[in-house]
Amino acid sequence: MSDANARQQPSVSLLYNPRVRGFLYQAVLVAIVGFLAYEAVVNASTNMRARGIPTDFSFWDRVASFDINQTLIEYSAASTYGRAFFVGLLNTLLVAAVGVVLATFLGFFVGVARLSHNYVVQKLATIYVEVMRNTPLLLQLLFIYNAVLTPLPNPRNSISLGAGVFINNRGLVLPDPQFAPGAIWVLVAAIAGLLLAVAFRFYAHRDQEKTGRSYPVVWIGIGLVLGLPALVYLALGEPVTFAAPVLRGFNFQGGVRVLPEFVALVLGLVLYTAAFIAEIVRAGIRSVSHGQTEAAMALGLSRQQTLKLVVTPQAMRVIIPPLTNQYLALTKNSSLAVFIGYPDLVQVFAGTVLNQTGAAVQVIAITMSVYLVISLVTAAIMNSYNRRKALVER
């Protein structure tokens, strides 16, 4: 018996054992990668030492002594390089946040327009999407910045849009809000309105599931969020006033100024990303089978209701994952700021700071890590949302 067994399982070379092989493959890979990494690190440290390139992070606390023209936090030439990093980071986040919101609105609008039965609307949406998707973002940015924004008139010949709003080649000048002592209550009212709106949405949702009654949640929500602060504002005798900017010297003094670089970057990112979002939205809506719509109509739901209660929830499942990718792409693309001189993270930190300190490796590593972290956080948020909305199957 034992003889027969031995014949059935001939002894094979250890080399042909899949587990041993797998182990070998991995060992080789680890060895190669490890060797390359070791070489890179040794070479880098040798080279950096030989060339006197700083290898530590001591530059972080040194005085930057350069200025940045858009700072969301207190910053001057007397601040540190570390501070400059945060200025750049916040500028990047600002562009990304504004861009994501606007691109989502425009993208959904164009995506729905692509499916319109209306010939003109549908064709124009198609042209928009194709042109935007098939030309480089950098070209669009340069076009907006150099061919649209810079030919605007100089500050002395600004275009006035009324109410203290001006456009010139230095950007958009808005009136500066002045806060009187009661102004804080307007903010409180706004927050209260928001909380009430959220609470009402919960209530309406539960009530609808119980009784089938539906409420105009959106309108009431808008009413609460805008109406409440407006009432408080009027009741307290208009505590917030707007100081119109005045033309003095080279430019407008006072007022809030939005840099043309910022406008160009946001505009470019929004127009470009919206085209991709539109395609995602279109695919998402079309993924909901027509039978669903017909069934909803047959149940007597109106077109609005069909869209809101049947089509959108299902489409969102298809839309969310690629939408996440677009948000990340927009954030990463905001680094193109460096081409038009908007002071984002890459321009300020991986540009000026790198150059003034010479600490190339550290600066680039930090910059890359920041984007990695942003990618991670966004992906995590969107994944949790996605999980919540995912189809619950039996």
Partner: protein
């Protein structure tokens, strides 16, 4: 993915921590250059008068001529240079990494660049200072009237820092609009994005040529900084440093001795012992540099003396028409001065 960031930072820290790395061994640059058969010279991406390629890739400029001089000293042929256009951002890393042998890119000599970046300035081939250019119709006659102005500047330069210092000491407000390359900064100024444009005075003159209507612009009289511009090399190779430094001194000495590109062949026959030493007729002053004895002759034969190079590229013989000023010889009221060859 969190692991990635951690790994990355660890790698950087490791790289920084690994010790015992040996210093770069001695003088290799000259041998490397000879082996390659050409000199690699980092230049400006395009600054008229200092380093500018035309559509066909032919380079001209004061810094370009300097590199040709170094190549001539080594090879006896001023054309054996490969010019690598570098942005302000890349220039020092390119030199540090050994990609270029000499950096002649109107770089300002500062303490931190030598002490921290591991570079050495071989000399000053142009004494410059930072100035401002504005539109004439703004009716501004002094930099002190620039309070509240938007100013275009190239990022990552000493210019950017000097400007910040200037406005800070004068407690004036301004808006710095920084661009990554000089062309973009000039274009932005020209299209009206900024009220003023700032860079080294020499750069202002050459940038002005790139404006649509050069006559509508003026350079303000204030010079707010010292900008000694010159060629730089890596630290750790003294022989190479000497070659580069003495190429510069040779050009200045030649002007002082009255040796020009045109008369250098005649001058070889001179009786003047100083000129004889200089041109290698008497003694061998090239040996210490690792060069043949006629090294200085070769330089002058290829690019002429300092005055000729200045005149041809930025002076009266060029569209820039910049006065010699500080850059005249010490004997003529300037501060260009060179030790003798002896």
């Amino acid at each position: 993915m969190k692991a990635i960031a951690a790994v990355l930072l660890t790698a950087v820290a490791l790289g920084a921590a690994v010790t015992g790395a040996q210093a770069q061994s001695g003088s290799k640059t000259l041998e490397q250059v000879k082996q390659k058969g050409f000199l690699t010279c980092g230049t400006n991406t395009g600054l008229a008068g200092f380093g500018l390629p035309d559509d066909k890739g032919n380079w001209t400029g004061l810094d370009v001529d300097f590199c040709r001089g170094v190549a001539a000293a080594i090879f006896g042929d001023g054309t054996k240079v490969k010019f690598i256009p570098l942005s302000a951002k890349d220039r020092f890393t390119a030199l540090q990494s050994g990609e270029i042998d000499v950096l002649a890119r109107n770089g300002t000599w500062t303490q931190s660049r030598e002490a921290e970046l591991g570079l050495l300035w071989a000399g000053v081939n142009y004494y410059d200072g930072q100035g401002f250019m504005v539109r004439k119709k703004l009716n501004v006659s002094s930099a002190l009237e620039l309070s509240g102005a938007s100013i275009c500047v190239q990022q990552g330069t000493t210019t950017e820092l000097n400007m910040a210092d200037f406005f800070r000491t004068k407690s004036m407000k301004y808006e710095a609009v920084a661009f990554q390359n000089i062309d973009e900064a000039v274009k932005a100024y020209d299209s009206g994005r900024c009220d003023a444009y700032t860079t080294d005075a020499s750069g202002l003159y050459s940038s002005r040529l790139k404006l649509v209507n050069p006559d509508e612009h003026m350079v303000l009289p204030e010079i707010i900084s010292k900008e000694p511009l010159g060629p730089a090399v890596r630290q750790g190779d003294d022989q190479w440093f000497n070659i580069v430094r003495w190429t510069h001194y040779a050009m200045i000495n030649a002007e002082e001795l009255g040796i020009t590109k045109a008369n250098v062949d005649e001058q070889v026959k001179t009786a003047n012992p100083e000129i004889k030493r200089f041109l290698g007729v008497e003694g061998d002053f090239g040996k210490g540099l690792g060069l043949p004895k006629e090294w200085a002759f070769r330089i002058i034969k290829a690019v002429g003396n300092y005055g000729e190079a200045f005149n041809r590229n930025v002076g009266d013989g060029s569209p820039l028409k910049i006065k010699r000023g500080l850059n005249a010889l010490w004997s003529q009221g300037g501060i260009q001065y060179a030790p003798s060859v002896r």
